[in-house]
Amino acid sequence: MTQPRHSAMLSISNTNPIPIANDKQQPPSTQIQNLASTGLRVPSNRKTIYDRHLNRTRNAELSRAGFAFLFAEMVTYAQRRVTGIQDLERRLNEQGYPLGLRLLDLLYYRTMSSSTSSSLSSSSTSAAPPNRPLRILPLLHLIHGPLWRLLFNRPADALEHSVSPDTPNEYMITDNDPLVNTYISVPKEMSMLNCAAFVAGIIEGVCDGCGFEAKVTAHNQPTEMWPGRTVFLVRFGESVMEREKVLERAGVK
């Protein structure tokens, strides 16, 4: 049994280097010129990330299976050497955070370019690019609507403000059936865990990027109809609430 397997492995390792070596030998002049002129290695099709465009064509979407597999792997990775559920959620949150910062830039870029291309006839100033959110509500609407649509192709299900007078800085965004949790079954002993902490991290990144310091956590709140219902609790920092008051007085919308 072991012999043929071993030989198969050998053949793989033998065949692989050959095409690579061929690749290297094939265009030596162009490659060397490139290296010499810029000190930069360019892919063989000569397309750097700056040559690709950022707008997604319709229907060019990722497979759900691929996403589920990758996300499961991310959860497994985050679970290594954690001290508890909170630690695990914190790590998932940290994985989402840089994504939120990036999505924010991408989201604005896409809405800007689509608004100018769709209304090319009108002057460029009238096709107003979207504004940066200055107050809390526009920010939350941005997350609830455009961001959710960019991520999950639908808006979030609810947006609420905390009714308690002690916590005016708390807002809740509800997703009845988060995509990230669709293929995750949490073991009984970890019933507190909600892997949508990853999405909470994305929201936190978006809030921070806009200049709204916030802590975002994901909580299970199942109902009979929606067993996977998740509430994202957005807690804005002191500085944000102070600025909110100043801006309200100044009449900034």
């Binding site: 810029t38 990330i49 910062l101 830039d105 991408l106 989201l107 806009c210």
Partner: protein, 190 residues
């Protein structure tokens, strides 16, 4: 016109900077600032000192492009700002040529350097009055529009950089391709 463009991270770390001159109306694209070559740090000094005003304007105006935000009259330096949604600041310092005659006749930088101290005292107002042409007028709507187009183009390239999985927020942008793209945008619009 001479330009100095810089990108600052949300925590005020310079991520990228470049100096270039105009390529419009016969310009050769080489920056000729009013400071001697040994005092180019003045550009950075002026541009960073405008941050206070940018941070004030940032919460009064929700646009990405904040237009012309600050002027430093002694050097007649004008600063325009653009805010990326995730908090990076794009700042462009533009300085009209010292005299309309030397601008067309490729004034040598050493001469400009010698004349700097004299112009610093009274040059601010006189040069603004003399530069009546649209291209040399830094606050005209045409200039604002050109800078806006430039900023939008840089923003596109910046988003591409940010989307790279190997880039983290706050890292210096070293890519030579990025630099050539920004230079090209400058040549196209400014």
């Amino acid at each position: 016109m001479s330009y100095y463009f810089t990108i600052l991270s949300p925590t005020d770390v310079p991520l990228f900077n470049i100096a270039f001159g105009t390529s419009k109306s016969g310009g050769d694209g080489i920056a000729r600032f009013r400071f001697p070559d040994t005092a180019q740090y003045m550009n950075q000094f002026i541009i960073h000192s405008s941050l206070d005003i940018v941070e004030e304007a940032q919460w009064m105006n929700g646009n990405l492009y904040l237009k012309h935000v600050d002027t430093y009259p002694p050097a007649s330096a004008y600063i325009s700002a653009f805010l990326a949604p995730s908090g990076a600041r794009f700042l462009l310092l533009h300085q009209p040529p010292q005299l309309p005659s030397t601008a067309t006749g490729s004034g040598s930088s050493s001469l400009l350097g010698a004349g700097f101290s004299a112009s610093a005292l009274g040059g601010g107002s006189s040069s603004r009055a003399s530069s009546s042409s649209i291209a040399a007028n830094p606050t005209s709507p045409q200039t604002e529009e050109a800078v806006r187009q430039f900023m939008n183009e840089v923003y596109e390239v910046y988003v591409k950089t940010v989307m790279s999985p190997f880039y983290r927020q706050g890292m210096e942008i070293k890519s030579p391709v990025f630099r050539t793209r920004v230079t090209a945008a400058g040549r196209k619009w400014l």
